[in-house]
Symmetry: C2
DNA sequence: GCGTGATTACTCGGATACAAGATGTCCGAGTTTGAGCGG
DNA sequence: CCGCTCAAACTCGGACATCTTGTATCCGAGTAATCACGC
């Protein structure tokens, strides 16, 4: 059980976008260079972030990505869900009648974690990241 | 990001062991039948649980598995860690100097979840499971 | 009866097969900016 | 100086290729209880 590297990249990319100037789009080329990933692969994740409504893309020359919402509104959970999907960690494969007590416990635990990530906004970290 | 089915099986198997008589070992054959898994695959997980010190195995005829510790001491987290390993969800792949603020946040979130699972003991669910 | 060996019922562990998902690359298509060229 | 065209700089999205990991099976080895047989 692990978050994918894609999530890692997406979080770092978002952090970079928050720290960057809000009006100038940042190109994939620059982002990929900063993160040490290939442009094409990173663009896959950026596409997911766009579809999730977190950022918007500007095609054409001097295009790139910029935040869509206010940075205060973007939580870690938003980004993680955009990449990993919103499916829950656990799904009981046994077919005992409807309710599985085990699943209930694990989902409760998951909710604990998600609540923490929901309250943690990306903007809180922005100042730590300036100039990277 | 998902827990493996193996974890699902292990949790159910442990729940069954807790609900079963504490002195008589339960064979893989019976467990596998109850859970709807193949014996050989289930035995892989049981081996992990043994190595984690949660249960002990009795070879030979009338052998099988039984709890090693008192059931009150066995938490969900113990079982999950036995199967999934204790590695954390997240590891930053970038090499920015030592500390990654993103990793810190995610690990804190993980700790929230683990704390919940640590406090949740398998014995709490035993009575819901009797006779399955 | 009583010991001794064979059979049976188990677990244990390695080797292997298979499928799915994560990771990563390549390439063509569409879009906007900006430069260059002709009038 | 103005407008048109064309090239460059981008993103977008699909189609692959590859590698790891989860899932699952098969088989041989070891071990303990039980049964059978011979003394």
């Amino acid at each position: 059980m692990k978050y994918s590297q894609a999530t890692d990249y997406a979080l770092h990319a978002m952090l970079y976008l928050v720290a960057a100037a809000p009006d100038k789009p940042v190109g994939v080329q620059l982002l990929a260079e900063k993160l040490g990933v290939s442009q094409t692969y990173l663009s896959k994740m950026m596409t997911k972030l766009v579809k999730a409504g977190l950022i918007q893309s500007a095609p054409g020359a001097n295009g790139g990505y910029r935040l869509r919402r206010k940075q205060e509104d973007i939580s870690f959970l938003d980004i993680i869900h955009a990449i990993e999907g919103t499916a829950s960690f656990f799904e009981c494969s046994l077919n005992h009648d409807n309710e599985c007590v085990i699943q209930k416990v694990v989902l409760d635990a998951e909710r604990q974690m998600e609540q923490y990530l929901q309250n943690k906004k990306i903007s809180e970290l922005a100042e730590h990241f300036k100039g990277r």
